[in-house]
């Protein structure tokens, strides 16, 4: 009787072990399936947007996406975003703002002279002063250098010969929307700091000034003339 009882106990134990094992297998399977299902769901979402995949593929038991090393070699997301190359747009002429009762319109401060270091340093000084006083500077550019030949008449004779070549350098600082109350102070500062040998000129900015900076295109003009004629 005891033997049978033992046997029965052993049987019960084994049964329990077997039951537990079965339960464990079920759990694992369930977990694997759910993980696979989750991966499948996300891949479904992405794949529905991109390609049409037959359903048989989703239900396979491929584990690579659930592997912890999935996507280990990815680097594209670390590189900076390379924007598509923008083609250089044609430079449009900016609208010249008109003057109001309290503000000046657009005007140019032209600095010119023979000594390039003085001219450049003075124009840089004006630009820095504007930045410091919160005055808007639209542009700060240079006009082409003009060469002047100084010709001297020979003492005995009528021929002239070249004595020297003087180069006039010119820099422009374009200012817009300057308050009329600030203007006298600004003018006084730049007048008092004007170096010797440098000419200062303030002009209203016009369309003609803007166009003067461009080079003429003789072939284009010739063709246009031909078309018109």
């Amino acid at each position: 009787m005891r033997l049978i009882g033992h046997l029965c106990q052993i049987c019960q134990k084994e049964e329990r072990i077997i039951i537990l094992r079965l339960q464990w297998y079920l759990l694992v399977l369930l977990l694997q399936n759910t993980r696979a299902l989750v991966c499948a769901a996300s891949s479904l979402q992405s794949q529905v947007l991109t390609t049409q995949m037959p359903l048989g593929v989703l239900l396979t038991n491929r584990h690579y996406r659930s592997m912890p090393t999935h996507g280990i070699g990815k680097y594209r997301h670390l590189l900076p975003k390379a924007l598509p190359k923008k083609k250089k747009e044609r430079v449009q002429a900016k609208q010249i703002k008109a003057a109001t009762a309290t503000e000046f319109g657009v005007f140019n401060v032209c600095v010119s002279g023979y000594d390039m270091t003085l001219v450049e340093h003075y124009s840089q000084y004006i630009h820095n002063l504007c930045n410091h006083l919160d005055i808007r500077v639209d542009e700060s550019c240079a006009l082409p250098t003009k060469s002047t030949e100084v010709m001297v008449m020979q003492e005995q004779g009528t021929k002239m010969y070249v004595d020297a070549v003087l180069k006039t350098h010119e820099r422009i600082v374009q200012i817009s929307e300057m308050k009329a109350t600030l203007f006298p102070i600004f003018m006084e500062v730049i007048l008092k700091n004007q170096p010797e040998g440098v000419r200062l000129c303030l002009k209203q900015h016009t369309e003609a000034d803007y166009q003067a900076r461009f080079k003429t295109r003789p072939e284009l003009e010739g063709l246009l003339a031909k078309i018109n004629n």
Binding site: F107, A180, T181, I185, M187, K192, Q194, E196, G197, L200
Partner: protein, 287 residues
């Protein structure tokens, strides 16, 4: 470029052309005139303060300021550094080539055929000759003097202290006393305050001063009350608005000694009353 000598070129003139800008500015003043005229018509009660427009006329510096010892040393140091870092210019290269050619010519085994095509048996103007010609020309050039030989202490000349800016002061009868003031006149109805200031400048006796006004906005303000015996029912005192102007023409007319003065900012305290000086100092820049 490191040249063996530097040509000193310092013209003492400067041209300020603000003609086109002035046109723009005049547009502003005409609109302002209408505004002020309207205001006066609608104002029922005149204010008890008389309005005056004054002008702060400045003669800008003509010459750069003298350098302090530290600045001199630094400038020399920078020049030296620039010289040492620079490359030889075309002229200097030519000098060296000519010197080398001369030394080659002096040698005993000189073969003129070995010389380059251009320099064989030709009379060339060497770079040294050019340099000598230029030095001669430089000796003939005399730059203008930094000091014009005018008495620096006497305040009546506008040629004194060329390195600093000077302000015009005028001696005027105010009430019973003679005071040194910036030129001013009373404001009349129908004109802008800037026009008052221009009139004040033009009405100075014996002086033909051409000035450019910098803008329509006044730069300073001074208020004073009349002494008790002068105060009537309508008038309590006067308000003076200052406008900045820059002297543009240099007519060396002999101004009367006792009524005009060109002073620097630090000399103002010898001439002006303390209260007046305090307000005037605020808008005069000593740069």
């Amino acid at each position: 470029m490191a040249a063996p000598f530097t040509r000193v070129y310092r013209p003492l003139w400067r041209i300020i052309t603000t003609t086109i800008l002035n046109k723009g500015v005049r547009n502003f003043s005409s609109t302002r005139q209408q505004w002020s005229a309207l205001n006066v018509k609608t104002a029922a009660v005149a204010s008890p303060w008389a309005l005056h427009g004054a002008v702060c006329l400045q003669r800008l510096p003509l010459v750069s300021q003298n350098r302090s010892p530290i600045e001199e040393e630094f400038m020399e140091l920078m020049h030296q550094m620039e010289l040492e870092r620079s490359l030889l210019s075309d002229h200097e290269l030519r000098l060296l080539e000519d010197a080398a050619r001369m030394s080659r010519k002096q040698e005993e085994d000189y073969d003129s055929d070995e010389e380059e095509e251009d320099y064989r048996d030709k009379e060339i103007v060497t770079a040294q000759d050019l340099e000598d010609i230029w030095e001669q020309k430089l000796k003939q050039f005399h730059p203008a003097l930094r000091l014009q030989g005018v008495d620096e202490k006497g305040v009546s000349s506008s040629e004194r202290c060329l390195a600093e800016s000077l302000i015009l002061l005028v001696k005027k009868d105010v009430g019973s006393q003679k005071l040194w003031l910036l030129p001013q006149t009373q404001w009349q109805t129908g004109e802008t305050l800037r026009q008052t200031a221009e009139r004040a400048l033009a009405s100075l006796p014996g002086a033909d001063l051409k000035a450019t006004f910098l803008g329509n906005a006044p730069c300073g303000f001074y208020k004073y009350k009349y002494p008790k015996d002068f105060q009537k029912e309508g008038s309590v005192g006067a308000k003076v608005f200052f406008f900045k102007a820059v002297l543009s023409s240099h007519k060396h007319l002999p101004l009367e000694n006792n009524s005009f003065a060109w002073v620097k900012k630090d000399e103002l305290q010898d001439f002006l009353k303390p209260e007046y000086l305090k307000q005037v100092r605020r808008f005069i820049m000593a740069l």
